[in-house]
Symmetry: C2
């Protein structure tokens, strides 16, 4: 399945593009996107055109659109949310002797863009000869500040390389710029065509501000820009401002070797409640702060912020520099999606594109938060606080569906259910247990009692109530959950999905446990001893189906009695299957889109014996087609645990290449945050063997062929633990914090700052490599060395 | 559940409305609709206004409309079909001394409308005093001819009762008259707002013709009218014609006691291929023939046609005249929906309204055709020929879904799948076995080898191929059908639905049997011995789940392990449940919308022991809420079989009152053909005990309390058999045809024309009356005597 990459160069901390390929412009815009979790800028060229998809996003800013149904039903959401392209402040148009700088004209002598993972910047350097023969160098450096969340800045320089050149730079704020719209539904296109209605626009010198409001969702957005200009004495600045465009035009005549340097500072803000005036002042204040920090100050702060992050999150992989780089690239984008999201969601595509309409799914809790929990726990906490903030909507949804507790939306921006296909949306209740799992994992890794008492407890309580309401006791007293959808979207509305039941069991136990530890707080939530006992009892009585004949767990009741998909007669052009076969037929066969039972074995590894894991893994490997980008991560982790290290390595390569090689052919619409986080997960939970064990992390490191050393840092309960694995040995070094008890292959050990621990890696019985469906084997990873 | 009736009078052969209630105008328009299976006129008032829903329908004439999806999927149909209101020829506006006759103004001194089930006419007689005090009598008689399928006619008379009156009658053809449109989807409304585009309009004397074409579906519709006028010498006629309206105005001054009499002849035609000219000529020819027959000739033909029908279909019920009348009313409307449908479908609402968009469903084969098979077998054959004619579309649909054979659409007008909700549409594959069942039933009842060899065989073969493709052998060799939806729409996508599996089994056997009997014909369809053996083997290996613990058949695998719906906490205002609860929650509980397993026990009564039937019936009675109008019919039949005669009687009353009492609150949109046919089914299959038994019908008559005699006629293999049941005895009389062997309570008997057979009805062990869900018990039927 691995295809040729997009051509980016492999360097330890840089993603470098050495030539401009307009055929992959949209993909490179996603890969070079800059964001801080609050504000995101796609890697569009400074001059605005050509583009694949112009994009400037503010986390949470969306417009509503109708969700139509051929045949409506009770409880179907009627209004969806779509993230919108807000006012574009990236634009710096350039005229060279009255010819516009456009890479499609003239001659592009050299081109380079570099995403710097330690500096947190996107650099560009271009030498261009205009159609009239004027030769110039354009250099820009762009950042979206991690330390000043409202702020982005661009240093833009033009140098005349040939003769004297008259240069005009038009720096703009543009609202409602035209973007490609969906063709299939005219009403959706209408809702998104010009989503911003002007409320205010103002100009003072080289400072401009535009304030807009969305029509249906009623959100107010302000964008402001300011400029510091350095150029020859003749340099002149003229400004103008209209409701949808503000323009600062800087004119200079450059002698050969002379430069025009412009630092453009941008500030953004939005609110559903704050007034036009308040929002104007807010972005003005942010601009003032940024100006005060100055360009070099912004650069310094950016690097310091990243230094801390990389210190906690370091990953080194000797033997495969491409994967090492890709893993860091992934960690960088996970940071960009989350660092300053604060009260908002972490969307599936971060702030890098409009894919999935900018919605957040269960991916966040299950695939992204484990990374953040171990590297930037504040961001993980903030993401869970966002979940807590949408509890009112989740309670309303549960009530509308006739159930107790809270039912979190399958996909959303602001908390309302936006899924228009309920068998794989509404019915995928596992998202509630996934959120609870993220709470448990976060609290375990941080011991953050403040969060636990204030928000974590309530999330656990309300989701536990949902499970009690969704499940029932059968005539034998077993607790069963009928008619729901697990992670595998090629099955739906099944009874007793093992993943769902086991995750619900953990949810119920965690709620009972937390409620008992926080008696006063849980009492205020209406929890009494009877309710706690009910949760415990439901968890103890949880039914987990088992196919005794095959000696495997069926993914759900009856799953193993279904016909196995006819893989032999399914061609490579028929994947992903859901684009070529009807759902009813996928649902009734044994074919797995993405790890489901196998994910249960990762997240509830306590619920399976080693023998069950091995048999289950082999069984589901033969059925799993990986039509979801989430799947390979989990398959890699379990493959590593079961000793299929080369298979795990193959999956790892696929995971890290999801966007850098555009494997799913949709990187143009934004990056896959779960895959980007997944590289870390495969390295740390897969080859490192990390599992959560109630305050004492467990490791079982083991390396695939070709990798001579894996090292990663973990932030765990205010400790910085560095784990280094070589083929025969593991090395645990505590870099900061109190002594830490941990497990190495099930054996307790203690790491202290003074005394690193070296432990041998035990031998492991070999198992035959499991097979995948015909044509769906991962490409064998041959380390480049 | 039985509510007050709509106020129609009970007379053996008449449905009489003695006062005009504008609050139920739309309902009365449905009840007084006239049709012949080709052309349908709602019972709108002659003068056009006021109306509930104006309606003139041509079977098959439809417009296309987009089917939108919030989230699209492979194989979802993108275009739906909706029957449209074609050119209205019923309109006869009346001016009395320059004041329009409108029942909302002036004084309606008397009003009567009578649907005459033997004459096949709708009569109206009104005495009205205009606001200015002019008193007139208006009498109209309307018919849609059974013998001349393109023709309808109206005799319209005005009499001056007071002073001399100047009368103008405007007789019209009106295209694109405004109708109430759906509010929820602007695109659907746009598609249907003015569906007819003028192609031609012409006038000659009192004859006018309008030709139109639908925009998207490209169907051409022609309507023509002619007039015979009798009045005082001064009577004058003026005509005019525009693209969307033709008007013949007849003016007369009537002295007291004088009359103006107008006979309006209407002719309709439509085609997707014939030219404008051909269609014009076609309706002109139909008008010529009608004129030649004259009004009295049309009345005579109509009555003779009905005499034959009632002779074959007579139903008498001593002790409950209301049900007797309602049963005849039902049989009349079934005839109206089907008699001349010929190459077209029998829609769920007949030609009485736009409910269900004018679509045909499985109701036709399972609920309507049994009646027609025993009364007007040509109509049953024509309906099955229509199915045969859409085989190409059904084959394409099967191929698109990745399956062999033919997959008939869940709902359609012209053969294309129009269901926009696939879990209860596409996945309800049982419709294919239902069609096969109708073929088997028709052939059994008629021995029609011409049909069997030409069309029946191919229907059986292609549906058998679908089942082979849909099912699979499990590891124990059992043939299983996973993930489909049975008749009960409160379950979906279940494994091994008993109804589906048993009906598929019959389908496979019938196909193998017919293919063997028609070796040459089946050979031409590509059937060889291997395929026949495969069908037989699949039928023999068919898996039928059984819950040994409860000793009942689960409706489908796992059904009996689901939570029972909380009926006690469901209020009467929460029914029908699907309007108040989400599908996912209905699907995961034990709650039954409509008979499913119970229907299997009726149609495959050979597959159950008596003990199983009794236990199953009691089990499912307690779960069945009858949110579908189809359910009560089947429940009544099984209740009668199992000796719960009073319960069957209660259900019968509910069935016959579906439209006459507007029980489902949607009679306004058209009548429920299945319920209308259901009355016959309950009387004949329920209290008469009729079951098909390979050429020898089986009876087991038994009457509920209060009914002293039930008699019904059956048309069976060119024989007219009259069955009469009294409390202790059954009487079988062959009125025409060769001797007939039949079963009476399992004992063989022979009826000949000369020798009626009298047989005693054996005693039956009493069983306790089963209970229904809380609040869903049928109203106890107390016979009016």
């Amino acid at each position: 399945m691995i295809e040729a990459g997009l051509g980016f160069k492999t360097e330890p901390w840089l993603v470098r593009e050495a030539t401009l390929d307009l055929g992959i412009l949209a993909q490179s815009e996603s890969i070079f996107a800059l964001a801080n979790g609050h504000l995101g800028l796609r890697g569009n060229l400074d001059e605005g055109e050509p583009y694949g998809l112009p994009g400037t996003y503010l986390n949470g800013v969306h417009e509503l659109r109708p969700l139509p149904y051929a045949e409506a039903g009770f409880g179907y959401p009627e209004s969806g949310q779509t993230c919108i392209n807000v006012t574009n402040g990236k634009v710096l148009r350039l005229l060279v002797d009255d010819e516009p700088f456009d890479v499609r004209y003239g001659t592009l002598e050299s081109h380079e863009r570099v995403l710097d993972l330690r500096a947190g910047t996107l650099r560009r350097e271009v030498v261009w000869v205009s159609p009239a023969g004027q030769r110039i160098r354009v250099t820009s450096v762009r950042l979206v500040s991690f330390t000043q969340r409202a702020v982005a800045a661009i240093e833009y320089q033009v140098e005349a390389l040939g003769e004297s050149a008259r240069i005009v730079v038009q720096s703009e704020l543009v609202a409602n710029e035209p973007i490609p719209l969906p063709e299939n539904d005219p009403r959706v296109a209408a809702a998104l065509e010009a989503p911003l209605q002007s409320e205010d626009h103002a100009l003072r010198g080289a400072t401009a501000v535009l304030v807009h409001r969305t029509e249906r969702s009623g959100l107010r957005v302000a964008a402001a820009m300011d400029h510091i200009v350095e150029g020859p004495d003749s340099t002149d600045t003229v400004s103008e401002c209209d409701p949808d465009i503000a323009r600062v035009a800087i004119t200079a005549v450059l002698q050969p070797g002379e430069r025009l340097r412009i630092v453009k500072m941008l500030a953004y803000g939005w609110s559903s409640v704050r007034s036009r005036q308040a929002l104007r002042d807010q972005v003005a204040a942010a601009l003032t702060a940024a100006r005060h920090t100055r360009w070099t100050g912004l650069l310094d702060e950016q690097r310091r912020f990243l230094d801390t992050y990389w210190d906690r999150t370091a990953v080194e992989l000797d033997g495969d520099p491409e994967i090492e780089q890709a893993a860091r690239f992934g960690l960088f984008h996970v940071l960009q999606a989350s660092a300053r999201a604060e009260g908002r969601a972490i969307p599936a595509k971060g702030l890098t594109g409009t894919g999935y309409d900018g919605h957040a799914f269960w991916d966040t809790e299950t695939f992204v938060l484990p990374v953040l929990t171990s590297s930037l726990p504040e961001a993980a906490r903030d993401a869970l606080r966002w979940r807590h903030s949408i509890l009112p909507a989740a309670r309303e949804r549960a009530a509308a569906l006739g159930h107790a507790g809270a039912a979190f939306p399958w996909r959303t921006i602001d908390g309302q259910e936006c899924s228009g296909y309920w068998p794989a949306g509404t019915a995928a209740f596992h998202i509630n247990a996934d959120i609870a799992d993220a709470v448990v994992r976060y609290v375990d890794a941080t011991d953050d009692e403040v969060f636990e008492a204030a928000e974590g407890l309530e999330l656990l309580v309300e989701t536990a109530r949902l499970w009690c309401s969704l499940g029932h006791r059968d005539r034998h007293g077993r607790f069963r959950i009928s008619g729901v959808t697990g992670p595998d979207e090629y099955s739906a509305l099944a009874d007793d999905n093992v993943y769902t039941n086991l995750m619900a069991q953990q949810n119920l136990r965690a709620a009972a446990d937390a409620a008992e530890r926080y008696l006063a707080e849980s009492g205020r939530l209406g929890v009494d001893e009877e309710e706690r006992t009910t949760w415990q009892a439901a968890a103890e009585a949880m039914y987990v189906p088992w196919d005794a004949e095959l000696a495997v767990h069926p993914q759900a009741e009856l799953f193993t009695s279904h016909q196995v998909w006819d893989f032999e007669n399914t061609g490579p052009d028929q994947y992903p299957l859901f684009l070529h076969f009807p759902y009813f037929d996928l649902y009734r066969r044994q074919v797995v889109k993405q790890a489901d039972l196998v994910l249960a074995m990762q997240l509830r590894d306590d619920a399976f014996t080693e023998e069950q894991k091995a048999r289950n893994f082999a069984y589901y490997e033969a059925l799993t087609v990986r039509d979801s980008s989430l799947s390979g991560i989990t398959q890699a982790v379990l493959a590593a645990e079961l000793g299929h290290l080369d298979l795990a390595y193959d999956y790892l390569a696929e995971v890290v290449q999801m966007d850098l090689h555009d494997l799913a052919h949709n990187t143009a619409n934004g990056l896959h945050m779960a895959s980007l986080a997944g590289a870390w997960t495969v390295l740390v939970a897969g080859f490192g063997g990390l599992r959560a064990r109630a305050g004492r992390p467990a490791f079982a490191p083991r390396l695939p062929n070709g990798i001579s050393r894996l090292a990663f840092n973990l932030w765990y309960r205010r400790r910085n633990l560095c784990v280094t694995a070589t083929p025969g040995q593991a090395h645990y070094e505590l870099k900061a914090g109190e002594p830490l008890t941990f497990f190495h292959y099930g054996e307790e050990a203690l790491a202290t700052v003074d005394e690193p621990v070296k432990l041998a890696i035990p031998a492991r019985p070999a198992r035959p490599r499991p097979s995948q469906p015909y044509g769906r084997e991962p490409v064998r990873r041959i380390p480049p060395g």
